[in-house]
Symmetry: C2
Subunit: 362 residues, 2 copies
């Protein structure tokens, strides 16, 4: 196999822009005449600081982050944020609202119970998370310390198509799988966090965007690197950051800007997922797993409705070069993840393959 | 500047084996005919699992890790371990022994106070950490939950040349800056941890070697990704690991084995640092900062004894291509870090430059 004969639909880590990979390869032994790989640079050196600063500035620009908010580059993925959010925002004897719409929001909710009282504002477990709750369904705690939801559910293939209105309660969103794919009014959020490995970079860096005034109220047993205040005060360099992964994020952001930024991505996500959903809605063999109004632009989950047929299709797809199309074990079936860096031709090729497969096996 | 005209003496992130960088560059767009960069691989895929397993097996082999111990690949650097060790080992109302021999052991000690009682078994602050305490100086707590020390002090240029005897108390060592540089009897340790960015890989992965029976006793407010038990049970894949950095560690380990492994590194560290120390002991311009019997094989700290002269030397050295030789602000002067991947010719070039500089400015 080669890059030309394969299509990678992994849910994350996922396909990256080829341009970013080519630059990384070309600069691997010597970045810009420095005599060093970016991997070898002291994080306290002027040359690395310039890479860090440029990446941060480009991310702030791409997402139009206002001055009320700070951008942090942390480690530990979204899973670390499941603890870090309550450790910093729950306070003594606090209550927080959580919506459970899938696997990761459920884990986040469970973790928060270690640190305070949790109110489940809505839970779509009863329909195996095929839908997103409506605003009027949300049972809000008036004085909640924060409200937490997962904007896109990678496992189940659903996505929130509105921003929950929670009044003055700080809104906290896990945007691991849809950050940088649509315009977001950052000012409405207390905290947005996202593991990088879907739309931003290889695994190993977590982007946190935090309204600065929320920091500094952590519980007394908060681990030192889990204090947002420490990381804000030290501009994410309290300790050695994941330097090279941040550099890779910088390369992806440069590529993103050339493509037309988030505005262009917002259109492309509809085209990519639309190709698949349109086909699924007309297929006699396959159908989508999520309810239509809750469908994710990022993770298209589908099935034949028959376990054996799903397994057969996955086998045939893999043999034909369509990698990582097997669905998550909690849903079964198939999943095609179509993040920002997924070329349209890959999506078209998958649809063509599915049509052909249906003609033969439908 | 280029790789041929520069010598990188950074304390970490630091110089990596050129062979590892070349392989990484060559495999960047397509690993082994998979059609994917390692950066793009699902951490749940068979192909990534094989990279992970091979790296772990090679690390266990290089360090002769016994079956009583598990090797983990975590995130957050040594700083995360400063919290994770007490969270998992301190227990309710526990006491732990800490030795303060430098900057990071001091931070680790301070952090542990959040989670229990800390006994400072020894502290070399009074001489600005130029020495390492002797065994008979250690004030041990008989029923301590663990004993913590930092095996090599990157900032001050000192290194423990013996393993503390603490009886049956679990021995915990921060080996961030000297892991893989000498044979270690792992069975004597409860936990060894090390950030990768000095002798192992780029920043972004932390190696933890833990005696398995120590896991599973974490305090109730331990963040879920900070439970050793969780990570042992999930073989470091509770959540997405820093996949690419682990792959880079794998490339460095392959290089290490070709060089003759730890046995060869143990000899080379003496040659490298010896070149510098021998010169320093005979110089009229420069002298080493650490006491002779406590000198680090990894970080050679030295000074002229005069701040202005030190600044002038750093400037001249940088202009001549010797990068990152400025000492840490807590010590001043200069520091040449000579980890496993530091070529001997770089050390020789620095000594030659210093001799020449002394002849002109001595």
């Amino acid at each position: 196999m080669s890059r030309e004969t394969t299509y990678n639909f992994a849910a994350g880590p996922a396909v990256l822009p080829e341009e970013a990979l080519k630059t990384a390869a070309a600069e691997m032994l010597d970045f810009n005449g420095s005599g060093m790989s970016v991997m070898e640079m002291s994080h306290r050196s002027a040359i690395y600081q310039s890479i860090f600063d440029e990446t941060k500035a480009n991310l702030k620009k791409a997402l139009a982050v206002p001055d009320t908010h700070e951008v942090l580059f942390l480690q530990g993925g979204a899973s670390a944020q499941f603890s870090m959010v309550p450790l910093n925002l729950m306070g003594e004897n606090g209550t927080a609202d959580y919506v459970i719409t899938g696997n990761f929001s459920g884990i986040a909710c469970k973790e928060a119970r270690k640190f305070g009282t949790v109110n489940v504002a809505a839970d779509t477990s009863d329909c195996n998370h095929t839908r997103i709750p409506k605003q009027e369904e949300l049972k809000l705690t008036p004085d909640a310390r924060y409200f937490h939801y997962c904007a896109n559910n990678t496992v189940f293939g659903t996505e929130w198509h509105y921003v929950p209105d929670v009044g003055d309660v700080p809104l906290v969103a896990d945007m691991s799988s849809d950050i940088l794919t649509q315009p977001v009014d950052i000012s409405r959020y207390g905290i947005i966090y996202a593991g990088a490995q879907k739309n931003m970079a290889p695994a190993g860096v977590t982007v946190v965007i935090i309204r600065k005034e929320l920091a500094g109220h952590e519980l007394p047993f908060t681990p030192l690197i889990m204090s947002y205040k420490t990381m804000i005060d030290k501009d994410s360099m309290y300790n050695t950051p994941p330097c090279y992964t941040i550099y890779m994020l910088g390369l992806v952001l440069k590529w993103l800007e050339k493509q037309g930024g988030i505005a262009a991505m917002s259109e492309l996500r509809k085209e990519r997922s639309g190709l698949l959903y349109d086909y699924l809605d007309n297929s006699r063999l396959f159908h989508g797993c999520a309810e239509k109004d809750a469908r994710s632009y990022m993770n298209v989950t589908f099935t034949t409705g028959d376990k054996e047929k799903d397994t057969e299709f996955c086998k045939a797809a893999t043999a034909a070069g369509f990698l990582n199309v097997k669905g998550h074990r909690l849903v079964g079936g198939m999943r095609a993840s179509v993040y920002n860096a997924q070329p349209m031709k890959a999506v078209q090729a998958l649809v063509d393959f599915m049509k052909e497969y249906e003609a033969k096996n439908g």
